[in-house]
Symmetry: C2
Subunit: 363 residues, 2 copies
Amino acid sequence: MPDGSSYEVRVGRGTIARFGESLRVCTDATKALLISDSVVSPLYGQRVREVLEESGFEVSDLCMPAGEENKNVDVARELWDAMSLLGFGRDDVVIALGGGVVGDMSGFVAATYMRGLDFVQVPTTLLSMVDASVGGKNGINTAIGKNLVGTFNQPIYVLDDLDFLATLPDREWTSAFAEIAKSAFLGSEHFYDWFTQNAHLLATHDIEATHDAILRCIEFKAGIVAADEQEQTGVRESLNYGHTLGHAIEALVGYGELTHGQAIAEGMRFAAYIAADAFDLSEDFVADQDILLDMLGLKSLEQLPDPEKLYEKMCSDKKTRDRSVRFVLPSRQGACETVTIPRGILMGYLESYASRKKANDKL
Amino acid sequence: MPDGSSYEVRVGRGTIARFGESLRVCTDATKALLISDSVVSPLYGQRVREVLEESGFEVSDLCMPAGEENKNVDVARELWDAMSLLGFGRDDVVIALGGGVVGDMSGFVAATYMRGLDFVQVPTTLLSMVDASVGGKNGINTAIGKNLVGTFNQPIYVLDDLDFLATLPDREWTSAFAEIAKSAFLGSEHFYDWFTQNAHLLATHDIEATHDAILRCIEFKAGIVAADEQEQTGVRESLNYGHTLGHAIEALVGYGELTHGQAIAEGMRFAAYIAADAFDLSEDFVADQDILLDMLGLKSLEQLPDPEKLYEKMCSDKKTRDRSVRFVLPSRQGACETVTIPRGILMGYLESYASRKKANDKL
C-alpha cells in the first residue's frame, strides 16, 4: 500500500522497455494484474506483459470493454471477482494500461479489493499522461451520474511512454489540449508564456513540445495535489476550472458526442465570460484564451444545451453545495477564485452567453 | 473527511439522548444519512432520527435488509444511488445504526460515495461495540467470498449506548463474548485477570461488567490499530487470532447456522491446540481458555467440516499468501506470533484435532 506521500513519474520515449525493472524497485509483488481495454489491449497488452514477465512478475491480464459507459459498478464487480479467482492478495499489484477510463476503473478496484493493494499507472493517452495519472483520484459512474463513486488512491509509480501516442486518434489529442490549456492558464507565468509560444507546435503533435507539456502539467498538478491531496482545503478545487459547465455539457450532450476536452474548453470559455463581468478580468485574457483554444482545435460549441437542464445537471454534480453552483473563475493569469453563484444570477449568465453565441452565429 | 488519527468513542447508558449535540461538535454537515436495517430500524430508528433533528440535522434514513447475505454490491449500489437522489454531498455525514453488517456497509458506502464523506458509528450490538466500531475496517461480500471488497475508513465519532443491548438476542451476546475473550487472551495481564474474574458476570449479561468489557476491548484494540492502522507492519494481524479457521468454518457451515462468535471461538481452540505443540505453550493456558469459552456459552463444535474443504477455504481467504496459511498463535498469555503453516503440516493438525473431537465424543 502506498503512503500517498510521493511516487515517481517516468516520462520519455520507449520507457516501456524498462518498465519491469523499474517497477521491481517499487514493489515485492509476486503477481501483477494488467487491466486494459478492448482498444489498448490488442495494441500494447502483449508487449507490456512481456516486459513484466522478464522481470519475474506472474502476469494476469483483464480486458474491459472500452468506453466511458463501461466505467460502471458491473465492470468493477467483474474485476473484483476475477481478481479473487486469480488468487490476487494484498501484496500484489494492479497496473492500469490505457486511458482515463481504464485508469479510473483500475484505481477504484485496486483501492477497494481487499481494502487496497498497490496501484501503477501506464497511461496510453495524452489526456491521462497530463491529468488522470497524477493526483490519485478515481471514480466510476452510477445510473445517476458520473464519477459519483470512487476514492483517493495514489499510485506507487507512473510510467508515461510517448511512443504510445503514435496510435492516438486526433480527437484524443484535442481532448488533452484542453487540460494542458487549463493548466497553463492556472499555472505560473513561465508556463503560460511557454504555452503561448508552443501551442502551434502542440497542435501539430510535435513530440518535443508534447514531452515538455507533459512535464509542465505534471509539475503544476503535483504542486496543487501536494497542497490538498483530498480536496479538503479548497486548493485542489482550482483544478475544476472549466469543469462545472463542462461536465454538465458532457452529460447532456452524451458522452462520446463531444470529447471531454471540447466540453471542458467550453466550460473555460464560459468561466472566463463570467469572470470578465464579475472581476473586471482583462478582455485580453479572455481573448487570448479564445485564440489559444481555437489554435488547438477546441472550437467554441455552436449552441449550448437548454440552460434550465444545464443548471439541474450542475446542481446534481458533486461540486455543488445546496442549490448554488460553484465555479472556479480566473481572477488574473495564474490565479483563480472559487465562487458560489446563486441560481438567478447563474441563469442570467447562461442565457446571455447562449444568446451571444446565436448572435455570433448570425454574423 | 476524517484524518484517521483519532476520534472520540462515547460509552454509557442513555448516551443516545445527547447524540445530536455531541455529533454537532464533530461536523458542520447539513444532512445526515441514517443507515439501519430491517431489525434495528423499527426499534431505534425513530428515536435516533429525533435526537438528530433536535440538533438541526436534516435527516434521511435508509433501511437495508438485515443479514450478512445482504452485505453485497447490489445493496451498496442502492445506497449510492439513494444518496445521489437525496442530494448528499461531500460535506454531509453518514451514520451507521446497527450491528456489524450495517457498520460495514455504511462504512464502505461512506468511504466511496463521492470519494468519501464523514462517517459515524452507533453500534447496537455488543459485538459491534467491542470490535467492528473500532478500527476503521469495512468490507462487503462478493460472490466469491466474505469482505473481499472494502476500505480502511476511520469514523469521526462512535457512540455506544448500553441501553440498546436490552433488545439484543442471547446468541448475539454469545457472539460478542468470543471477541471479548480474544482481546483478553491477547491483551495485558491486567485485562486477562479482570476477564477470568468477571467472565461469569458477563455470562449473565451484567451491565457493569459489560460496560467494563467494552472499555477494555476498545482500549486494547485502539492500541493495536494505532500501531498499524492499515495492516502494513503485521502488528494488527494479531487481531486475527481465531479468525483463520473461524472464517473458514463460517463460510462452510453457512452464515447464520453458527454465530460469528462460535466460529471464532472454535478457531481460538484450534490455534491454541497448534500452539501447544509448536511452542510448548502451557497446557494451563489451553485448558483455561477452554474453560472460559465454555463459561461464556461458546461450546466446542461437535464436529468440524471436512479438513480438505477447510484448507481450500483458508487458502482463498485474504490472510493467505501463496498456498501456505497464516495463523496467529498464542506464544504465552498476552503475546502471540504469526506463523505460516505449509499444507502438509496444517492438514495433519486439522485431522488430529478433528479426531480428538471424535474421541471426546465417544467418552
